[in-house]
């Protein structure tokens, strides 16, 4: 019989294979895209560039060798934790990513935490109390927000709260020249609106899924049996409803990590913030191969780690999942 440790080890092994595939795709996809990264390095005069200059730049950025050699160099560098040098931004990719990842985490972690907590509560409550005031308010509102493009919601928020009411700044992460407590509150003040927008978007999707899951579970026979046994509502919700609802919810939160980073590009543009979204967008636009590879690699790791954590949490949330994994291993 497999122990919990081997269950986790098997998961880790599977993720290692996925990472290798992702690394290879990260390398290949930018290179099969049309467009020459040196076009942007040379600027307006690219058409007149001397072939010797182009050869020099190709050598500098490692674009002169065969695709296979470039791939081997890339893999070799990864083993030394070297993500390369950005063609467009003239910086180490790792420095650019760490700088921008911090900004993105400041934005998405609070949004993820608040939206998960709020949607868990509202989704469960509305699923159990269909047709009540909060359900009639939250569910249509969630559908409207979920269907609304991110840029539209962000622009409405910016226009209403930053421009017309002037409660919040029109963008940026902080003011210049502040330190200590002032800097802390200033950052909070600047990020409150974009975080709120991301949180509202996060709540809308998760609330709907959770509400529908709870509704389905609440109609199941085993809930009826629990009620007939005389359990009180709190016990039924905690032991039977939430246990069944949590695995898909955890999966959704895990997937949300990647989607939030991706979705943050719109928020970053509208609120003039720096972060992984715009870094990746620029990298793709300028065909900055090392930066594209680095960003995708880090995003892949982020999503894989959150999925790994989710996989582990499934087992904790619902022991049947862990047991079924053990059984299938035994059969094999």
């Amino acid at each position: 019989m497999l122990s919990g440790r081997s269950f986790i080890l098997r998961k880790i092994l599977r993720y290692c294979v996925i990472i290798l595939i992702v690394i290879t795709l990260n390398f290949l996809i930018p290179r099969v895209m049309p467009g020459d990264p040196l076009i942007n390095v040379l600027g307006e005069d690219a058409a007149l560039a001397d072939p010797a200059l182009i050869a020099k730049l190709e050598l500098k950025y490692g674009l002169d060798s065969s695709l296979w050699d470039q791939y081997l160099d890339y893999i070799g560098a990864l083993f030394q934790f070297d993500l390369g040098y950005s063609i467009d931004k003239s910086s180490q990719v790792s420095e650019l990513i760490s700088e921008n990842m911090c900004n993105t985490l400041l934005l998405i972690l609070p949004a993820l935490a608040i939206s998960s907590a709020v949607s868990l509560l509202t989704g469960s409550w509305c699923g159990l109390h269909r047709g009540k005031f909060l359900d009639r308010l939250m569910t249509p509102a969630s559908i409207i927000i979920y269907c609304m493009p991110t840029f539209m919601l962000a622009m409405i928020a910016l226009s209403t709260f930053a421009f017309h009411l002037q409660w919040f700044p029109l963008g940026h992460q902080s003011s210049s020249g502040l330190s200590g407590l002032k800097a802390f509150f200033d950052t909070l003040y600047h990020l409150a609106l974009p975080i709120t927008v991301l949180t509202i978007i996060g709540i809308s999707g998760k609330h709907l899924v959770l509400r529908n899951s709870v509704m389905q579970i609440a109609d199941e026979d085993f809930i009826l049996v629990a009620r007939s046994k005389g359990y009180n509502e709190e016990t039924i919700v905690k032991r039977h409803v939430l246990r069944n609802v949590l695995p898909p919810f955890i999966a959704m939160v895990a997937l949300n990590v990647g989607l939030l980073v991706e979705g943050a590009v719109i928020i970053e543009i509208i609120f003039s913030l720096n972060g992984m979204g715009t870094l990746l967008y620029d990298a793709v636009m300028y065909r900055d191969y090392p930066l594209i590879q680095g960003c995708f690699l880090v995003l892949t790791f982020t999503v894989l780690i959150s999925n790994l954590v989710a996989d582990i949490l499934y087992g904790l949330a619902d022991p049947r999942i862990r047991d079924s994994a053990r059984c299938s291993e035994e059969i094999r």
Partner: protein
């Protein structure tokens, strides 16, 4: 649950209110009541990544404020004036001699020398990829008599002074030991000799700030500090202008979109100015290396099928003008009137008929002269939505005269690769920049002459001879005569068709008067810094 939601909302609001008061308790006014401008805050969508000399938009700001060339352009007259050079001369437009001024200083107190200028050419050409290409005509730079810089070109180039406008001299004593300027983000990298000194760059607040150089040789400018605030979208920038967070907007070689004008004119404290744009915002390009785009009749027919008034109204809300066949926009030195472009579908169809482009198989679309199928690929880029909208419009116009067009929309880098490297396109839509129109022999020649960017691949001797003569012109009379001839060539041969001529829409706060506009940097001109005053 409702209680929790209300609590979260209350928490956010209370944090914001607390933060607002904590952050704004030191807000001050920007008026010292003397007419001088203490600080000009300029919103921009040009994003600076770092403060090294290889950063494109920091370079633009440096060119306006901290770094100088041998000459500069007077924003009022459009003529060249001495800057780091007191005077200059050339006998043959090939060897240029500049006498370096004796009173120019770097902002760290060192004098600007002829050796610094020589070093700037060599260093930038060696380390900044685009520079070596822009200055590929420079064969040699020497210092003579202590204060003279002698620049020898490998071609005759009467337009060399225009090319010199974007040289930004750098101090040798700072950069001689810097091997990779693209990673040199030290404050020393910003040392220049212009009327301003770099103060700080803060990517979190999106600010780049410069203070007046009190020791500048022409005296300190009237604007004490210039701070650029970077926005990643025009909407937020225009909102900031409306609520007075910024004093003006600025986008290099462009203005704000016409879309915002209607909203801005309702604000009493904002003035919206328009001025001639010497680039062409939207141009239809033909690849003359391919049939039938090398056929003048085909191009002429296309020129008659487009509804230019509709294009102007739909793409720019009328901010601009219907172009002439001569391509070069009004406001350009040496502009002449040529045929105003207009739609005449009957004439367009007649020209195609006479040239042999007939609908042989009666499918509603014309075939090539040799009877083969003619499907035209019209290439455009995704980074401006108006380009793809315009491409669809042009497809419709060409369809009216029986030309089958397929629109292909690609991203900017792929578009650049095709136009600059592979040249594998048939027709394309994109704009030209003011700098592009001025460079090479001027009058848009760099885009057309096959020996330069050559997007149209024009190798017609009639044209290349005109360009050569323009490069070799030694008097302004000769230059104006050749400028007229080149515009007449465009009007008759139509290697390109301007779809409309634009204007730059420049809003600013009415609190200040005295904005001057120069061809290269718009309102961020040398004259603005000295003439801008608080209107009280």
């Amino acid at each position: 649950m409702a209680v929790i939601a209300i609590l979260v909302a209350a928490l956010l609001i209370s944090v914001s209110i607390t933060a607002f008061y904590v952050v704004n308790d030191g807000a001050d006014e920007n008026d010292d009541g003397t007419g001088a401008v203490e600080e000009l805050i300029v919103g921009t969508t040009n994003i600076v990544s770092n403060i090294n000399i290889a950063d494109y938009y920091f370079g633009v700001m440096a060119g306006q404020l901290t770094h100088q060339s041998l000459i500069k352009m007077n924003s009022t007259t459009g003529s060249f004036e001495g800057c780091l050079a007191d005077s200059w001369y050339t006998l043959d437009s090939k060897v240029w001699v500049f006498n370096i001024t004796s009173d120019a200083e770097w902002s760290d107190g060192y004098p600007v020398t002829a050796e610094d200028v020589e070093f700037s050419f060599e260093y930038r050409s060696e380390h900044i990829p685009g520079y070596s290409t822009s200055y590929s005509m420079v064969e040699n730079v020497d210092v003579q008599n202590g204060n003279q810089v002698v620049i020898t070109l490998n071609i005759v180039d009467s337009n060399f002074l225009t090319t010199l406008l974007v040289l930004r001299a750098i101090p040798q004593h700072i950069f001689e030991n810097v091997t990779d300027p693209a990673t040199y983000n030290d404050k020393n990298a910003t040392i220049g000799c212009g009327p301003y000194i770099f103060d700080y760059f803060d990517s979190s607040s999106g600010e780049v700030s410069f203070v007046a150089n009190e020791n500048y040789r022409d005296g300190a400018p009237n604007v004490g500090r210039i701070t650029y605030v970077m926005y990643k979208n025009q909407d937020a920038m225009v909102m900031a202008l409306k609520i007075g967070e910024i004093d003006a907007t600025y986008i290099y070689a462009s203005g704000i979109s016409y879309y915002y004008v209607a909203g801005l004119v309702n604000y009493d404290d904002i003035e919206v100015e328009t001025f001639d744009y010497i680039g062409v915002p939207m141009v239809l390009w033909f690849n003359e290396e391919i049939t039938p785009y090398n056929n003048q009749s085909f191009r002429e027919a296309v020129s008659y099928c487009i509804n230019y008034n509709e294009v102007l109204n739909l793409m720019a809300a009328g901010y601009g003008s219907v172009p002439n066949a001569g391509f070069v926009p009004t406001g350009t030195y040496g502009y002449i009137d040529t045929r105003t472009l207009s739609q005449n579908l009957t004439l367009a169809a007649q020209i195609l008929d006479e040239a042999g482009f007939l609908d042989v198989d009666n499918d509603g679309y014309r075939e090539n002269v040799d009877g083969s199928e003619l499907t035209i690929e019209l290439l455009t880029r995704t980074d401006l939505s108006t380009y793809s909208q315009l491409a669809q419009l042009v497809k419709g116009y060409m369809g009216k005269i029986g030309l089958n067009v397929e629109v292909s929309v690609i991203d900017r880098t792929t578009f650049g690769t095709i136009m600059d490297e592979t040249k594998e396109f048939e027709m394309a839509i994109t704009g030209t920049t003011p700098w592009g129109m001025m460079s090479y022999a001027g009058y848009g020649s760099t885009y057309i002459d096959d020996r330069s960017y050559g997007w149209t691949g024009t190798a017609d001797e009639n044209y290349t001879n005109l360009v050569d003569q323009l490069m070799a012109a030694t008097t302004s009379t000769e230059m104006l005569d050749l400028a007229a001839q080149i515009q007449e060539y465009y009007a008759s041969e139509l290697p390109v068709i301007a779809l409309y001529w634009g204007c730059i829409i420049q809003p600013h706060n009415v609190d200040y008067t005295g904005f001057s506009v120069d061809a290269l940097y718009g309102i961020m001109s040398y004259e603005t810094f000295y003439n801008l005053a608080d209107s009280g």
